[in-house]
């Protein structure tokens, strides 16, 4: 499974900012580490700011700071700000969906989507950061 670019940027930014108590970083610093465009990241950070997950600190030495709750925010909370995990469950229709073959295919895809959703919904940022630490 592949996540969209904006989603990956958001997850990287959040994990970076949430990894330390009161950690404050500029968009440039985050963009550089992950090799992503600062402009793109700035847009993503604005979206995260709108839902209260990050806050911008103004002035010299300003940047962004995580303002959510690491033990309550899940990967799904962030992912669904940028994309839909389960388009089929949400009723998005495609050609052939009404045929027996299409219905069978939808069942299979729904099983995959349900598993993906449950996985993302059960991993908090705190848990994800432990996983990151294990991979260092």
């Amino acid at each position: 499974m592949k996540l969209q670019k904006a989603t990956r940027c958001a997850l990287f930014a959040i994990l970076e900012l949430a990894s330390g108590q009161d950690r404050q970083l500029s968009a440039n610093e985050i963009a550089e580490k992950y090799g992503i465009s600062t402009n793109h990241l700035a847009k993503v950070l604005r979206s995260l700011g709108r839902v209260g997950l990050v806050e911008a600190v103004r002035g010299a030495g300003g940047g962004y700071r995580f303002s959510g709750n690491r033990r309550r925010t899940t990967l799904l909370d962030i992912i669904q700000l940028f994309e839909t995990i389960d388009p089929i469950r949400n009723g998005e229709r495609e050609d052939g969906d009404d045929t027996a073959e299409g219905k069978g295919l939808c069942q299979v895809l729904m099983e995959i989507e349900d598993t993906a959703r449950a996985t993302f919904a059960s991993i908090t940022l705190d848990t994800m950061l432990k996983l990151v630490e294990k991979n260092r």
């Binding site: 839902v51 997950l53 303002s67 033990r71 899940t74 059960s122 908090t124 848990t127």
Partner: protein, 167 residues
Amino acid sequence: MANPQVKQSERKCTVRLAKATDIPQVIAIDTENTGLSKAEYWEDLFERYNNRSIDTDDDTQPKSVKRYRFFLVACDGDKVLGFIIGEVRAWEFGSPPCGWIFAVGVRNNIRQGGVGHVLLEALNDRFRKAGVNKVRTMLARDDTLIMSFFRSQGMMAGPFIQFEKDL
């Protein structure tokens, strides 16, 4: 989503095998957490897990080596804060002996205080003493709260896929 990293202080508790007198509190915790009161179910579990064995209230070594079913409670004095139930099972689903966790519950008002972690570690210790080095559990896909707990303890999806069919 506000209020970052508020971590409640780790709660002091002791973990031991459940006794008959703990069961009403276990039932109350489960009822509080699930909204369903199933007294008979818990009494039966206690009977099968902790009351049928010859070493009824002693899970210290060396007797615990022979023990493979565990109904544990975390207590603060006489107050039961939470419970966990597990069992070593072998060769079911083609699996070599491993520990299975069937149930875990902590009083609602002390969640995220470390009681679940202490219970899980105590059960894992007993599984290790019983000779297994793998622990598994099974969850409903929509039960993301308890799934989050197990994931926070380092558990990941296992190698089995559950199948079902309406009969």
